[in-house]
Structure formats: structure tokens, C-alpha cells
């Protein structure tokens, strides 16, 4: 531990602590723009400057580490004046169309400008001098280059944390611009649509592709039968838009809000997650017991991971679970089984999904398999952020809503379905059911603690009827390489794979930290959102997918058995190697 003085107050911090973090101990908030709690400091913006006794120049609190005996001043009239100038310089290069910006009232730059009371343009605007690109080619995330403040968060998260390398800063100085290599469209780049760039952007330079109007249109169309599903991770995050504590589970209020919006039936993606588990656990058991074993099996419910694997790890396509994601299974069930049972013309069903994810917007048309009902199985996929806006537009008093129930038959879920939203959850849910499928008995202890938590790579060895099963869980795409490389090496050498079952989620923390979730995510928030899901799991009467009575009914009345011919027709899909760059 080292001692320092901040604004006259003694603080003691661990070696390696930045002035920015140390200041929190002295109850001081130093303003930041480029620094994000998830990311390494880049020293790009300069708004966090502080004075350190003995230093002739002001130092950046984000990237300066506390040293023994340092005397730090975080605020005085001169520092405030310098910060104001930094802000004015940034604003001279930023459009002032806040009223019609997707980040209006949820923008870090707008907040700083409000806090500093900026009222006029001190420096003449140079916005028009830069050549900006508007890129909505992916139809999932939208880049508005003119709003970029060059903080570097998106580039950092795309390159270092996600290992995707779609975004980069091209040229330099005043000509610097955010773009894929060679100024091509994002859709032609290796972008996997995870949306972490949009989630980390402090301003409106990268936002989700807003599809809310399509949903309003669908709700208005008299000949449509609008139905909706909500993903596991949405229920524990949407509350942040309405002032609830982080991690509050608002499942039943969400059902009520969606009914108020005008959906004729509200389904829960947790239900189709249970179906995914039946299929995936069945697939795992089949591969485990075949001779020779066709392992490892790699989970495939994360569409950004699917895109990443197809682009970067085409060599592993054969190990990918062919099982569709819960979103897609719900889509196809609503337009086949549900439509038939309720005697609704499937062509009239307008299926909307509420997802914590931008890549889910890509998934709904990623291949022919996404049209297996004969129609596009999902019509529109919205993010948590878009739904929060719709609820506000509809004037729904969210807090006062009375709890509602999901609609039968695609609404009843187990604890296994709900934990899909946290890293390790799919693995835990699959293991619960795979164990039952192999042994005919329930697992003695259902909770797979080794798969939980925010460690980048989690491993465990399980005993299933005498067989040793090694599992691995990775989240944040940069953590995937290590695992997949080990598997690829073993495969090439014809050796036993180091893992038998691998779960990958593109986003750090899994879907609770998804690219479509409310802004401002940190590990603390990820933990709280995940805790909400694990609590939901504990409270369910059934905690294993195979015990879901409505899932059992689906198999009796429709799909026969996991991995049956019908199940394959509707619940499975294919993958292919793709080029990372189309241009």
C-alpha cells in the first residue's frame, strides 16, 4: 500500500492504482470522457487532468499512477478552466443536434456540457471540415462518424476485448476517422455485430439500428397478429431505464408492459431456451456416446459468436452445435405449432423479439434456416434499449404496472432457461439435462459454481456416470482463441480434446453485458444483473429444462423427441465458412 494526499486528505491505495481511482476514496469525482471502467486508459481526451505537486504540467488522472507521498489537487479554478477549454474544443468538433440524437439524455458528453454549463460556442465549429461517413450497412449498428469524439473506446473494445478488428482509426490528426480498414462498409468488414462498440460509445457515434417504427407499424396493422418474446437478460436490465436498482427482476412487469403495448400474446425466450437445452444436451450426449466421440461440442446460441466462428474459425464448424438459438426456436414455434394450435394464419403472425443484443438483429435473416416456418421466423428484433423507449413513448407507468403472466404455451420456463443470460448459464443448464439424459437421474447438486462468475475462461471437470467430462466457458471473444487453439491442436494431432463441451458468449459477462443493454455497464453491474438471474433460477419450481411440462408437451404434440427429424427441420441450422472481408 502507498500513501498519498488528495485535496489535503490522506488516502492509502494499492500500488498500481490510478489517480482517477484513488480520488474516489477521497470522495472526489474527476470528470472523464474517454476512460471507461472496462477499458485501459488511452489518455485521449484530457478532461481528467489534475495537478501534482512538483510537476510543472497537469497530469491525466486516468493514466497516472499514484506514487508514494504524491500531493494531488483534483479541483481548483485553474483546473476547472482547463477542463472547460478541453470540453469546448471537443464541442467545436461535435454536431449540436442533441435533440434528435439517439443518445439524447443518455450521453456522456451532453452531461459534461450540462455540468460545465457550456452556453455558447467559444471555438468556431469545424464539424463540416471533417469527412464523415454514415454507415448503417449492417442494419444492426449504425456509425455516425460526425459524432465521433475519437475517444477510442470502440476501437479498443473491438480490437483488444473482442479480437474482431473490424473498427480502426484511419489517418491521423484532424483527419482521423473511425472506419473499417480501407473505408469499406461495416457490413463488408469482419464485424460480428456484437454491439460492444455501441455499448461503450460515450456519445451517439455508434448506436443500435432503431427498428421501433417497424414494431409500431406491426402493432397498428389490423391484419397482423403481433406476438412477442423476451430474452433472459432483458428482465434484469430494463429496470435501469426506469430507476430500479441494478439486477431487479422485472419479468412480470415486462409481460404486463408488452400486453399494454398491444401484443396479443407474450412469450418468454426462457421457454425456448429450455427447448434449446433439450436439443443441445441431446446432441452432446449423442456425440459423447458415439464411437469415436465427436467432441468437443461448442455452443451456438450467441449470434456474434456464430459470425465470429464462421469468419475466423471455419476449421471448427463441424464442432459447432447445430441447434438454433432460443430466439429462433421461439420464432419458428410461434409460426408453426402455436399458429396451428390457436388456429391463426401463420402469415399474419408478427413476431417481435426483445433481446439484450444487436447481433440478434442480424441473426433473424442470417440464412435460409431462419425461414423454416415458411416465413421469416422472427419479424423484428429489438434491443432492451429500444423497448425501454417504446414503453416510455406509450406512456406506460412501468412502476405502477400490475404483474402479468406470460401466455401459454410458449411462456412457462425453468431455472435452466433463465440463467442463459449469464456467462456459464447455457453450460450449467445443458449439464443439468445431459446428466439426466445419460444417467436417468437428476444431478445431486444442480448449481455448477465453476461455470459462474466473470473470470474470462472458466474450466471444470464433471463426473457423469463415471465418465470424466471437461468443460470450458469463455466470454469476451478475446478469451476464445486460447481454448479453440488448444482444441484445434489436439484435433490436428488426432488426440483427445482438452475439453468436451465449450460455451462461448461474445460479450463479457454473457448476455447480461450484451451490446443492446442499457449503457454504462461495468463488472459491478454485470454481477448484479447475473445475480438477478441466478435468484430467478433458485425461485423456480422446475430448475431443469427436461422438467418443463410445456416443453414436454411440445415434444409430445409436435417435435416427437430431441434431435428427431422434425426437431432437425425446425430447431437446427447449418454453418459455413465465410470470408472476414467481403471487399
Amino acid at each position: 500500500m502507498i500513501k498519498a494526499v488528495i485535496n489535503g486528505q490522506q488516502v492509502e491505495v494499492a500500488r498500481g492504482t490510478s489517480i482517477l481511482d484513488a480520488a474516489k476514496l477521497a470522495n472526489v469525482k474527476i470528470p472523464v470522457l474517454c476512460k471507461h471502467a472496462d477499458l485501459e486508459a488511452t489518455s485521449a481526451c484530457g478532461i481528467c487532468i489534475v495537478k501534482v505537486k512538483g510537476s510543472a504540467k497537469m497530469l491525466r488522472a486516468c493514466s497516472t499512477l499514484v506514487e508514494e507521498g504524491m500531493e494531488i489537487t483534483t479541483h481548483d479554478p485553474e483546473i476547472v478552466a482547463v477542463r472547460r477549454t478541453v470540453l469546448e474544443l471537443i464541442l467545436s468538433n461535435h454536431p449540436k443536434d442533441c435533440l434528435v440524437c439517439a443518445r439524447n439524455q443518455d450521453c456522456e458528453l451532453q452531461k459534461l456540457s450540462a455540468d460545465f454549463g457550456i452556453r455558447d460556442e467559444y471555438f468556431p465549429s469545424i464539424v463540416d471540415r471533417r469527412q464523415h461517413k454514415f454507415d448503417d450497412s449492417t442494419k444492426t449498428i449504425v456509425i455516425e462518424g460526425s459524432k465521433c469524439v475519437l475517444c477510442g473506446r470502440c476501437v479498443n473494445v473491438c480490437q483488444k476485448h473482442q479480437n474482431v478488428w473490424a473498427l480502426s482509426f484511419l489517418s491521423r490528426g484532424i483527419n482521423t476517422k473511425l472506419s473499417p480498414a480501407g473505408e469499406i462498409n461495416l457490413a463488408d468488414s469482419p464485424c460480428v455485430k456484437c454491439g460492444q462498440c455501441s455499448n461503450h460509445c460515450p456519445v451517439g457515434a455508434i448506436v443500435e439500428h432503431d427498428d421501433t417504427q417497424k414494431v409500431w407499424d406491426g402493432l397498428r396493422a389490423e391484419d397482423k397478429y403481433p406476438v412477442v418474446q423476451i430474452a433472459p437478460a432483458v428482465r434484469v436490465a430494463i429496470g435501469e431505464a426506469f430507476g430500479y436498482p441494478v439486477g431487479a427482476n422485472l419479468t412480470k412487469k415486462l409481460y404486463a408492459a408488452l400486453k399494454r403495448l398491444g401484443f396479443k400474446a407474450v412469450f418468454d425466450t426462457n421457454f425456448s431456451a429450455d427447448v434449446t437445452i433439450m436439443e443441445e444436451a441431446g446432441e452432446f450426449v449423442k456425440k459423447l456416446t458415439s464411437k469415436p466421440r465427436e467432441l468437443p461440442l461448442i455452443t451456438s446460441c450467441c449470434p456474434a459468436w456464430v459470425d465470429f466462428l464462421e469468419k475466423y474459425r471455419g476449421d471448427m464448424v463441424d464442432n459447432f452445435s447445430t441447434c438454433k438459438s432460443p430466439q429462433e426456436i421461439m420464432g419458428v414455434l410461434s409460426k408453426t405449432y402455436y399458429a396451428a394450435k390457436e388456429k391463426i394464419d401463420p402469415s399474419k403472425i408478427f413476431m417481435v423479439s426483445i433481446m439484450p443484443c444487436t447481433a440478434k438483429k442480424y441473426e433473424i435473416s442470417r440464412g435460409d434456416d431462419m425461414f423454416s416456418s415458411g416465413y421469416q421466423d422472427i419479424d423484428v428484433s429489438l434491443t432492451t434499449r429500444e423497448l425501454a423507449r417504446m414503453i416510455k413513448q406509450a406512456g406506460i407507468d412501468f412502476e405502477k404496472l400490475e404483474d402479468a403472466q406470460a401466455d401459454s404455451i410458449l411462456g412457462h420456463y425453468t431455472g435452466a432457461g433463465t440463467i442463459f443470460g449469464a456467462t456459464g448459464g447455457v453450460m450449467e443448464a445443458a449439464v443439468r439435462t445431459a446428466y439426466y439424459m445419460v444417467t436417468g437421474r437428476e444431478m445431486p447438486s444442480l448449481e455448477l459454481k465453476e461455470a459462474r462468475g466473470l473470470k474470462g475462461i472458466k474450466e471444470a471437470e464433471l463426473d457423469v456416470a463415471g465418465a470424466k467430462i471437461r468443460i470450458a466457458v469463455a466470454h469476451g471473444l478475446a478469451n476464445v482463441d486460447q481454448i479453440i487453439n488448444q482444441v484445434a491442436r489436439a484435433k490436428a494431432a488426432g488426440k483427445e480434446p482438452p475439453y468436451h463441451f465449450i460455451e462461448v458468449m461474445a460479450c463479457q459477462g454473457g448476455c447480461v453485458g450484451g451490446g443492446g443493454q442499457p449503457y454504462g455497464v461495468t463488472n459491478e453491474l454485470r454481477k448484479k444483473r447475473a445475480a438477478g438471474l441466478y435468484e430467478d433460477d433458485r425461485q423456480q419450481k422446475e430448475r431443469c429444462s427436461h422438467l418443463n411440462p410445456q416443453v414436454q408437451l411440445i415434444y409430445r404434440e409436435f417435435a416427437k423427441a430431441p434431435n428427431s427429424e422434425i426437431a432437425h427441420r425446425y430447431f437446427h441450422n447449418k454453418y459455413k465458412k465465410r470470408a472476414a472481408y467481403i471487399k
Partner: protein, 161 residues
């Protein structure tokens, strides 16, 4: 890719791909061979040297030296050094831009002309100065531009015959 073969590109990549921190050397060698860094060559480097293409373009666009498109057949450069600037270099650039329908720094869509601004060619006494394919033209007036361009085009036609 013009003027160089894939074998030459492969030789460049093979020479440098296992040397840490050698991306700039590779790109220099490629530009030396091809006259610019074609996208295909950048992609080949990316895949064989295992360097993300985004990283390669960050380097390519950071340094002015690197060119991303094939050099024009006729390269026009206008000196914008102090003496030439005072003697009307900006008007020369404007005249070239109007005549060719491009901005300084760009190449005509048929690849025949490029216009660039550069600093001091060391013959200030001839200001304003421009070069066409390396040949110095001194005391140029904006009104001279159309005829200079016509001369070049005429030369092209004769060569084509």
C-alpha cells in the same frame, strides 16, 4: 496487380513475416515493387503474416508516404513552398482541379492524371513551379494549364498509335 508478380509479393512476406515489428518494412517493400500498396497485397500480408487488416490500414493511413491506389500515368505536382505560394501556387492548383475535375491529392477516374501539392522543389527562382512526371515547368500561369494538359494528352495519343 501491375508490374509485379505474386511470387515477388510472397518473397517480401516470407522475408519479413517472422520478424517482429516489421510491418512497415513489408509495406515499404510492397510499395517499392508495385508503386503503391494494393488492397490484395495488404490482405495477403494480413493472412500470411497474421496481422489484422485493420492494423495494416492504420499504419498505411498514418504515414503519408504510403499510397493506396495506383499512381496515375501522369503525375502533376505543384510546389506550395513559400516562394511559389506567394507567386500564385494556389491558383495553379485551382486551375488543375477545375480542368481535371478532381481535388488535389486525387487521381482522375481513368487513372491518367493525379494532382498533388508538395513543398519546395529547390528552384524558387522559377516560382511558381510545377512538375509533370518529374519534369520542371517554371513561371507557370493558370492560363497555361489547359495547353500543358493538351500536350500531354497528345503525347498519349501518339504513343497509342
Amino acid at each position: 496487380m501491375p508490374n509485379a508478380s505474386n511470387e515477388e509479393l510472397n518473397a517480401i512476406i516470407d522475408k519479413w513475416k517472422d520478424v517482429k515489428g516489421s510491418l512497415v518494412m513489408m509495406l515499404h517493400a510492397v510499395q517499392d515493387k508495385f508503386g503503391y500498396v494494393p488492397r490484395g497485397a495488404a490482405m495477403e500480408i494480413a493472412s500470411r503474416a497474421k496481422i489484422p487488416l485493420a492494423k495494416i490500414y492504420e499504419v498505411l493511413t498514418f504515414y503519408h508516404f504510403f499510397k493506396l491506389s495506383a499512381p496515375a500515368r501522369h503525375q502533376i505536382a505543384v510546389c506550395t513552398g513559400t516562394a511559389c505560394y506567394l507567386k500564385g501556387a494556389q491558383e495553379l492548383i485551382k486551375a488543375l482541379e477545375t480542368e481535371l475535375g478532381i481535388n488535389a491529392g486525387d487521381t482522375t477516374s481513368d487513372g491518367s492524371f493525379s494532382v498533388a501539392a508538395l513543398r519546395c522543389l529547390g528552384c524558387c527562382v522559377l516560382a511558381p513551379v510545377m512538375t509533370v512526371n518529374g519534369k520542371i515547368h517554371g513561371h507557370v500561369k493558370p492560363a497555361d494549364i489547359p495547353s500543358i494538359l493538351r500536350e500531354i494528352a497528345k503525347g498519349d495519343e501518339q504513343n497509342a498509335r
